[in-house]
Amino acid sequence: MKPVGGTDIISTVEFNHTGELLATGDKGGRVVIFQREPESKNAPHSQGEYDVYSTFQSHEPEFDYLKSLEIEEKINKIKWLPQQNAAHSLLSTNDKTIKLWKITERDKRPEGYNLKDEEGKLKDLSTVTSLQVPVLKPMDLMVEVSPRRVFANGHTYHINSISVNSDCETYMSADDLRINLWHLAITDRSFNIVDIKPANMEDLTEVITASEFHPHHCNLFVYSSSKGSLRLCDMRAAALCDKHSKLFEEPEDPSNRSFFSEIISSVSDVKFSHSGRYMLTRDYLTVKVWDLNMEARPIETYQVHDYLRSKLCSLYENDCIFDKFECAWNGSDSVIMTGAYNNFFRMFDRNTKRDVTLEASRESSKPRAVLKPRRVCVGGKRRRDDISVDSLDFTKKILHTAWHPAENIIAIAATNNLYIFQDKVNSEMH
């Protein structure tokens, strides 16, 4: 368990496909990559800990002079590309521009040049009496990051998600009203595959909130809307996928109607399961599991913090109701996780139907400490250590969480701190 302090609020967290690397993006446009140390027999207690591998400035603030708008440098999303050679690559995006970064290691240096000396200065040729073949000598590991592609000017509205296709050649980027398909090698054009902008902006009723490619079928993708619906689209059906193949929508419960019904039904995140059979969505109060074969309603609904339902007006006032929480599957799709307030995060076991609330805090993060389950009491009997709803700290919110693709290791972003928790006892998945 280790908290890593930072000067800026973390805005995205993402493991790579093997879980060896963990990338975070922050509000200042920086990306920090952590690498898992290989387990060593010499120091069994520090097996598999994550240390800083590389830090770089991905995006800078920009100014759109035409519209007199400042473009924030905040990193909205990072997605890793599947590794195809020794280098690692990732895509990072702010509101307007996506960049492809290549991360390479250098641990050897050529020495023994004929024409240059050790500092690179040209040698006096009269001192060269024989030829030598330069040899590679080991050096301290240097991690180099370079921007390989900049995908700019593709979006009028704010980019909310990017997703790499399973074909490893294309990726999509989604803003409030449009989704574009890019080829990773081509930066000067993209294909628009979804456009929900109405002819008259005053007729606007919903926006795109998140999107993702199917993990196995390169022609399928899903996007979620502010109205709480999911649309599964097939790129083989038409060039412009405005017409969905499947529409996943749950009818609203009329007894829960309030001024804020529309806000709390807006989907803030959608994730395919690793199997590709299910989708996970997060709205303000719940997480839902959807079966791709059933459009009428989710197959499972879990309450994240239903005690907030009576407080929606205050949460509207202080803007918390607009918080966009993310959700995550574990590697075997048996447990789902999402964040909440007071630095709490919740896990739901789909098989046992048990759930747990845990807290990411400095106290709980001493090495090898065991996380203690927390409870929010809503009146009635109050146990020791319970937190009452009114004493929840709404400034401490866990919006971004990530789960290692194979092991029980989770990364939790709590404002400007990153917590990495490992389940040592139960490393194999159930």
């Binding site: 400042e70 509101d95 009028t156 509205y157 704010h158 902006m201 005053e202 502010s226 807006s266 006032e317």
Partner: protein, 171 residues
């Protein structure tokens, strides 16, 4: 009656959010503004459908539509037209709330909404009545203007319609 008070409060808060969104870094967030406008519409409908008498006296109908309000013809918007006209039509426009059938209080456009609900916008009240849209466009009252959530129940009558009209065009 409580519904009316609650709806009133929510409308005030919502208008404050829409106003503040214009000065936020990074540009107007379309998603958030859409959600706020949906809340605004719901609250307005509840307010109007509540049979209790209005909290505020409506001013004379003629003066409200007059001075430089964006978009609608004097006296209220035409049915179906947008109540939220923006002077600066960039591609990140705010969505308009639906203009419902006109009520006697003529809350169909934002100018009137703020006239009736927005006494808490004390900062805007201090602006002198101006000319047309161009002047209002230059106004950036900033965050000090809005204190949403305050219900000024001791101001039963609208003081001055004109400063509102020009300030609202900034929306």
């Amino acid at each position: 009656m409580e519904f009316k008070l609650e709806a009133h409060r929510i409308v005030s808060i919502s208008l404050g959010k829409i106003y503040n969104s214009r000065v936020q870094r990074g540009g107007i967030k379309l998603h958030k503004n859409l959600l706020v406008s949906l809340v605004l519409r719901s609250a307005r409908q509840v307010y109007l459908s509540d049979p209790c008498p209005s909290l505020y006296l409506a001013g004379p109908a003629g003066s409200r539509g007059a001075a430089g309000v964006g978009g609608g013809p004097a006296g209220g918007p035409a049915p179906g037209s947008s109540p939220l006209k923006k002077p600066r039509r960039n591609s990140e426009e705010q969505p308009g709330g639906a203009a419902a059938a006109e009520e006697e209080m003529e809350t169909g456009n934002v100018a009137n909404l703020i006239s009736i609900f927005g006494s808490s916008f004390s900062g805007l009240l201090r602006k002198s009545p101006g000319g047309g849209r161009e002047e209002a466009e230059g106004e950036e009252s900033g965050p000090e203007a809005a204190e949403p959530g305050q219900i000024c129940c001791d101001k039963p009558v609208l003081r001055d319609i004109n400063p509102w009209s020009t300030a609202i065009v900034a929306f």
